[in-house]
Amino acid sequence: MIRDERIPSDELRRIDEEIRSNWETGADVDFEEAIEYHESLPEHKRFADVLESADKPLLQPRAGVPRLDDQIELLEYLHREGKADLLPTTIDSYTRDNEYEKAQQGLEKARETGDDTLNGFPAVNHGVEGCRKLIDAIDAPIEVRHGTPDARLLAAITFAGGFQSFEGGPISYNIPYTKRHGLEETIERWQFVDRLAGAYTERGIRINREPFGPLTGTLVPPSIAIAVMLVEGKLAATQGVRSITLGYGQVGNVVQDVAALNALKKLGNEYLPDEVVVTTVFHEWMGGFPPDEARANGVISLGGMTAAIARPDKVITKSPQEFQGVPTKEANASGLRTTRQVIDMAIEQKIDIDGIEEEQDLIERETRCLMDTIFEHGDGDVVQGTLKAFESGALDVPFAPSDSAKGAVLPARDDDGRVRIFEWADLEMDDEIKEIHKARLSQRADTEGREQSFRMVADDVDAISDGKLIGRPQGGA
C-alpha cells in the first residue's frame, strides 16, 4: 500500500534505470556528471536562490516551441523585451502523454518545415544535451512547465539537462488534466520525481518544485486549492525537496486573492517541515479571457494590482491574446510589461484593504477542515488520506474532468465577487462555514432577485470574458 514515505535509494535507482530505458535519450543521464554541470552554473541561473532572494515579485511567462533554436530565440526575446525575471519551457502535449515517438515525428517535421508542429518543447527528445544548450544560452533561471501525469523520464532528463525548477504534482497534474489516470498511480509517479529532486538537493543542487495551484482554473475556492498545495508540498518534502513554490490562481476579487495568498504562505510554512523554504506563485486569471486585447489588458492589470498588494514571490503572467490561445512572442512580452508597470507603480504604496484578515481567517479555517479530513481519512498518512478523501468526495475540485475526483462541488460568486461554494456535495466542512457561504450567496440572490441556482455558476464562468466579475442576470430580473 502506497504511503507518504521516502523512496529507498535502491528503489530510486531501480525505477530510474527502468524509466530511462523508455526512450533512447534516457541513456545519456549520468547523475554524478549532472551534479557537476549544475555546480558549474552561475548564481543567476540557480532557480531556487534567485526566487528565494528576490525583494519583489518576479515575473514569468509561459512559452514553448518545438525546435531548440526557436526556443532559445523565444526565451531570449521574453527576457530582453518582456523583462521576464524567470523563464519557462512549456512541454508539448505528446510528451505529456509519454508519446515520445509522436513527439519525435513532430520535432523532425518541425525541423524540416520550420512550422511549429508541436505545442511545446519536447525536452525528452532533445535530451540532456539539447536541454543544456538551452540552459547555457539563456541568462536567467528556467523552469519546466508541462501537465504530465507521469513525468518521471521528463524529470530525469531535464534535471540532468540543467533545469532547476519543475512544475506539477500528483493531484494538480492529474485532476485538472486527464480523465483516467488513477490518483494512486500519479502519486507514485510523482514520489519518484520528488525523490529525484531530493537526490539533487542532498548534493547541494536545490531543485525547486512548484505544485500547480490553479487546478481546473475555473472559480476554484481558495481553500480547496490551498489544501491540494499543502498535500503536494508535504509529499515533495517527504522525498527530500527543500525549495517548494506553492501556487494560487487569481479569482479576481482583490480581497479574496490577497487573503488567499497570505493564507497559502502562512499555512505552507505551518504544514511543511521547517527545513523547506516555502515561496508562493500567483497565476494571473486562468479562466476565460475577453475576446479583445484591450479588455484582456484590463484583466491582466487587475492581476498585477493584486500581486502588488499581496507580494507573492512570483507571478505567472498572461498575454492580451489569451483568448485566441498561444500568443505571439510580442503579445507575451506585452503581458509581462503591463504587469510589471502596474506592480512597479503600486508596490511601494501602502494599500491595506479592510476585511483581508477576516477573509484570510475564513480561508484558513476551511483549509484546516480539509486537511483534518485528509489526515483522518488516512489515519495520519497523507497519501492514503488524499486517496480516500477524494474517493469519498470529502476532498473535491470543481469542474474536475478526472474520474479520481467527484467533481460534484460547484462554486459561485457572492455579492462582492468572492468565490463561495454553492453545491457542497460531499465536501467535508464545518456547518458554521457552510452557513457563512450560504448567507453570502443568499445575499447575492436577493440583490439579483433570483433563486440561488446553477444559473449563477454558469453566468459566473462566463462573466470575466463578458467584461464583468459577477455573472449578474442580463436585462430583466
Binding site: 488534466y177 486527464t178 480523465k179 470543481p398 474532468p401 467533481g407 455558476v457 454558469a458
Partner: protein
C-alpha cells in the same frame, strides 16, 4: 421524484481526447433542473461509451460536446456505431466545432451530414438545448413544469 415512465433520459459527454468539463457540468445541472434524467459520461468519452450508455439507460437523446477543435474527426462513423448498437435517440452536438469557425453555416452542414439532428455553437445557452429537446421529444413545457413541481 418524477416517475420513471414520465422522465426522459439524456446521455451527455465530451467526445474524443477533449478534457473541457465546464460546459457539460453546467449542462448537466440545467438538464436536471429541467426535469430530465441525465447520464453524464464526462470528458474523453469514446463513441462506444456513448452507444453503451444509450442502450443501458434507454436514452431518448445523446448530447455530444467538443471544444478542442477536433470534433469532425472524433465524430466520423459515430452514427454507424449508434445504429449498430440499436440506438434510436436524437443526437445533438455543440461547442467549438471547427478550428476557424468562420463559416458557421458550413460547419453546421458538415455535422448534419455526419448525422446529427441539431448542431449548436459554443455560445448556446443551456435553455436553447432544453427547448430543442422539448420540441424534439414532444414534451410540452407545461408537462415539464408539472414534473418539476411534483418533484
Amino acid at each position: 421524484m418524477v416517475p420513471d415512465t414520465m422522465s426522459q433520459t439524456v446521455v451527455l459527454g465530451v467526445i474524443g481526447s477533449d478534457a473541457h468539463v465546464v460546459g457539460i457540468t453546467i449542462l448537466e445541472q440545467a438538464l436536471s433542473a429541467a426535469g430530465f434524467d441525465v447520464v453524464n459520461l464526462g470528458v474523453q468519452t469514446s463513441q462506444e461509451e456513448y452507444a453503451e450508455a444509450a442502450v443501458e439507460y434507454d436514452a431518448q437523446a445523446v448530447l455530444v460536446s467538443s471544444l478542442y477543435g477536433h470534433a469532425e474527426q472524433d465524430c466520423q462513423g459515430f452514427h454507424e456505431v449508434l445504429e449498430d448498437a440499436g440506438v434510436e435517440a436524437v443526437t445533438y452536438i455543440g461547442g467549438n466545432l471547427a478550428v476557424g469557425q468562420d463559416d458557421w453555416a458550413e460547419t453546421r452542414r458538415t455535422f448534419e451530414e455526419l448525422g446529427f439532428d441539431r448542431v449548436f455553437d459554443s455560445e448556446t445557452d443551456p435553455e436553447d438545448a432544453i427547448a430543442a429537446l422539448r420540441a424534439d421529444l414532444d414534451i410540452t413545457s407545461t408537462e415539464s413544469e408539472r414534473a418539476t413541481i411534483s418533484s
